[in-house]
């Protein structure tokens, strides 16, 4: 099997597990929608659209964290990870498969959340949407590696947000900038740079995190 074939098989496995168990995606959807409702009450009346865009990013990051916290749970519960590590494929394919699957969940959650945001709060233009997508890629790439690290720890649910949030700060800067700045392309470029750098780093270092 080729590398891409391995990745596709692993992603398909994750998506199929989710389709059967329906653990993660409904939770993410419900979470992001309730967060938006909470924001309506948290924002005082007459606050500008900019504040709403900022809060949208809070919602996106925490929804992603929710999905990432569940990312390796099926593997952990059934001891699949040991099998995957032993499988005759490149280990970074495991990371890429997990990243793509998490990304699919996050994009699916946003496919509902973003229209709801437009309905409740403020319109989003194409630059803002591109910012969301690029930031999604970044947070899933970094997050799935961090989640694999945290999964080995004693308090993984507690550890993951601590590991990911400082790394996600540049993504939030890029995303909010793309949404509210008149020259949003600069922020998109920055997000692209972040995605490139951290995806390569995660791709190269995943092997060290999972092997015993």
């Amino acid at each position: 099997m080729t590398y891409l074939g391995d990745v596709a098989a692993l992603t398909r496995k994750d998506l199929r597990v989710e389709l059967r168990a329906r653990d993660t995606l409904p939770a993410m959807l419900l979470f992001v929608l309730s967060t938006l409702v909470v924001f309506h009450f948290a924002l005082p009346g007459g606050t500008g659209d900019d504040a709403a865009y900022g809060l949208l990013w809070v919602a996106i990051v925490f929804t992603a964290l929710l999905g990432l916290a569940r990312a390796w749970v099926p593997e952990q519960e059934h001891g699949v990870l040991d099998g995957l590590v032993l499988a005759p494929c490149d280990r970074s394919a495991i990371w890429l498969g997990k990243t793509l699957a998490t990304l699919a969940f996050l994009v699916a959650a946003q496919a509902v959340a973003l229209p709801a945001f437009v309905l409740f709060f403020a319109p989003l233009d194409s630059t803002a949407l591109a910012g969301v997508l690029l930031a999604d890629i970044g947070i899933c790439a970094v997050g799935s590696l961090m989640a694999a690290m945290a999964a080995a720890g004693r308090s993984r649910e507690l550890l993951l947000p601590l590991l990911v949030l400082p790394l996600a700060i540049p993504l939030i800067v890029g995303g909010v900038g793309a949404a509210i700045s008149p020259e949003g392309e600069r922020y998109l470029l920055f997000l692209l740079l972040y995605d490139g750098v951290f995806a390569v780093l995660s791709w190269a270092s995943f092997e060290y995190v999972v092997t015993e």
Partner: protein, 209 residues
């Protein structure tokens, strides 16, 4: 080595002719540079660990990052004092360096959380090493991000004339920098020796018990 530090501390204020608040510059900036240096050293040792697989680098990387975090915390404290003295606020989001240090401080605190929650062994060593490498990549990326964020968070940028360093000021600055680096190095050696002793002792105890 202690002498060098005392000397630097006495020499430094003499040259501060730009008001008393400027004096902290001699401490603050060298500490910040040393913290960067420690983080860099930690990441370098982490890279060596992943590359060569020698377990001794794990402890070296950990100790370097520990020192870096201590110096980072000192940077935040001295920076806050400086901000209070010259801008009359304890904290300002418009100082890029301070914000960057806050992000890094949070990041490296998470590093310790990660380390303490994993079980001792090669896997912990490698996970910590990977995280340390992420840290050193995060430094320039966050710096860029904070610069970019300034555009929409602070439409009016705090402009302040940087102090033009005269010859003697520059010398003082270099002396303090050397002293702080030396201090960091000594602390690094001491902590490393202590931690190694600890590990050896534990091994001996296990062998005997």
């Amino acid at each position: 080595m202690g002498l060098a530090i005392v000397l630097a501390l006495i020499v430094a204020p003499e040259d501060a002719d730009q008001g008393i608040s400027q004096r902290i510059f001699y401490i603050h900036v060298p500490i910040a540079l040393t913290a960067y240096f420690c983080f860099g050293l930690g990441a370098w040792k982490a890279l060596l660990l992943l590359w060569r697989g020698d377990e001794r680098y794990d402890l070296e990387s950990y100790v370097a990052i520990h020192q870096g975090t201590i110096f980072g915390a000192l940077t935040l404290i001295t920076g806050s004092i400086w901000a209070r003295a010259s801008w009359d606020v304890w904290w300002t989001w418009s100082s890029n360096q301070l914000v960057l240090f806050l992000v890094l401080f949070l990041f490296y605190c998470a590093y310790f959380m990660l380390r303490f929650s994993l079980e001792d062994g090669p896997r912990r060593a490698r996970s910590s090493a990977v995280y340390a490498l992420f840290g050193v990549v995060l430094i320039p990326v966050s710096f860029l991000a904070i610069r970019l964020a300034e555009d929409f968070i602070h439409p009016t940028v705090f402009t302040r004339e940087g102090p033009q360093m005269t010859g003697t000021m520059f010398v003082t600055f270099c002396v303090v920098w050397a002293a702080v680096t030396l201090l960091a190095y000594v602390l690094y050696r001491v902590e490393l020796a202590g931690k190694r002793l600890d590990a050896d002792l534990r091994e001996l105890r296990e062998a005997l018990g």
